[in-house]
Amino acid sequence: MTTSDIHRMTLSQLKRNLEAKNLSSREITESFLKRISETNKSLNAFITITEEQAVSESVEADEIIAKGKAKSLTGLPFAHKDLFCTDGILTTCASKMLSNFVPPYDATVVKRLKDAGTIMIGKTNMDEFAMGSSNETSYYGNVSNPWNLDLSPGGSSGGSAAAVAAGLAPAATGTDTGGSIRQPAALTGVTGIKPTYGRVSRYGMIAFASSLDQGGFFTKSSEDAALLLTEVAGLDEFDSTSSAEPVPDYTASINNSIKGIKIGLIKQHFEEGLDETNKKVLEEALKALESQGAEIIEIDMPNIGLSVPTYYVVASAECSSNLSRYDGIRFGHRAENFNDLTDFYSKTRGEGFGSEVKRRIMTGTYVLSAGYYDAYYLKAQKVRQLISEDFKNAFEKVNVIAGPTTPSPAFPLGAKMDDPIEMYLNDIFTIGANLAGLPAMSIPCGFVNNLPIGLQLIGKHFGEESILQCGHQYQQITGWHKQVPEDFK
């Protein structure tokens, strides 16, 4: 590989090249910044580009490397979803409400990646407050899919997905409340991991639905995902829901064979909602895992079909509560002309939020309001328990659950904006893992109509090692994760 291949290298390859002094951090960083300046206009993947700071940090990184004091990720460029607070750098959550917000601190994920030596090159576009599955609800306009600019990259972390797929960043953070890492990863042909609830700190991640939100990564390989998770996972005193479970070295166990590993297929996920062509591609992917010695077992999850309605009650309720903090007083958008305090709040929030966010706040307010709480919110929490028990029973028989990430490949921009239910159903296969708090990832597994689709791997609680291992072993014998969109070669 030569310097012209920098944007195609995985994080691990760039790391090896830095260590061998084949490449400098400045060369790598400037190469990605150049690609951003050439192509961000067509993709709209970034909201903020931190060019000056990145170049100066890359010079410092090269000095650190020269002194032999490099840490595990020193000198590697990185993009952050614009939902992670970054000290002194605009953090908008793709909303008018936060279009002027400059956080006074770093999110723990950002801090840990910074401490490990990464260089932030920018903040990526997303659906407003992470509410959307197509990246069309952003106040800063939609992101385009690098495989076809007329198509959606998925959402809500569409900017991060498109940036990694198009080689504008070697890796990026994302957040996943109902599929917001895995769905865009599948639709843009990259690897995306959502860890177990509590595995990665949520401190400094702007909250959407606190019992479902989890931060994770977009990468070019499972190996890179393992590398990043090893750095970032673990207890954080600033997040009382972060887990004290010990963090293994995920990069070690990925090399183990998957011979004898039991992989479950959710019967219901292959019966309805899945395109026939997607199904064929997935069956090929499963054969590849079988050829490596994995045993495929069909599993029955009678309640999994209730995931989407359950999610839209729970997530909307939590969002209506979380977003009540946007009052225009201490930060964010502030209405100018008003009569009294109630009018001030109502105007501030009416002007600051986009239509999808408003819809979810109103849905949440409805399901929590007097007379409806038991019928909707409490009911959904009970059904959530049933879905979670389905997973628990399944994991008594298997180590990993595999299946589709999305029902179909990327869809045209605008195609689903008029029908919220059709949009919500795009997350039909991903939401279950959020409701049950399980780790899950999507890896590229083939193409339908020249568009990438994803294989989803779901693990037991804190079972990241086994899904990363399956992903890495699969990527040893297949080349789908190495495919690059024609216009971004």
């Binding site: 002027n100 917000f101 006074p104 601190y105 177990t196 609830y197 509590g198 019992s211 005193e237 009382s240 309640n303 209730l306 989407v308 309605p309 839209y312 009650v313 209506s320 009540s324 009052d327 007083i329 201490r330 930060f331 964010g332 502030r334 305090l341 001030f344 709040y345 109502s346 105007k347 929030r349 009416g350 002007e351 939020f353 239509s355 408003k358 819809r359 109103m362 849905t363 307010t365 409805y366 309001s369 019928a375 909707y376 009911k379 959904a380 929490q381 009970k382 059904v383 959530r384 328990q385 049933l386 979670s388 029908d419 919220p420 239910i421 919500y424 959020n434 409701l435 708090g437 609680h461």
Partner: protein
């Protein structure tokens, strides 16, 4: 179950969030669709099922009540122009 315009106005008040007259038909149509969709949960038998409030069914971890953050009020208050001597200026609430 359909959501009518009066309910939308009430939800708009409860959530302190203006909905413009021009938005109200769209909100009515889409909110009705969403509530109809989630209504399928009503037919599920959940007697004797404990509601799930935490995805790992865990309780909150507690920590010692010690100050662990430094005071960075000035930095925080850079996010609004409406402060005076370290305090926030808010609309008049008492006549």
């Amino acid at each position: 179950m359909s959501i009518n315009k009066d309910q939308i106005k009430y939800l708009s008040l409860l959530s302190r969030m203006d909905i413009q007259e021009s938005e109200i038909n769209d909100v009515e149509e889409k909110l009705t669709k969403i509530i109809d969709f989630v209504d399928q949960l009503q037919s599920i038998d959940t007697d004797e099922i404990e509601p799930m409030a935490h995805p790992l069914n865990q309780s909150q971890r507690l920590r010692a009540d010690k100050v662990i953050e430094e005071n960075n009020r000035d930095k925080i208050q850079k996010n609004t122009e409406s402060t005076e001597r370290g305090m926030y200026i808010v609309p008049k609430v008492i006549e």
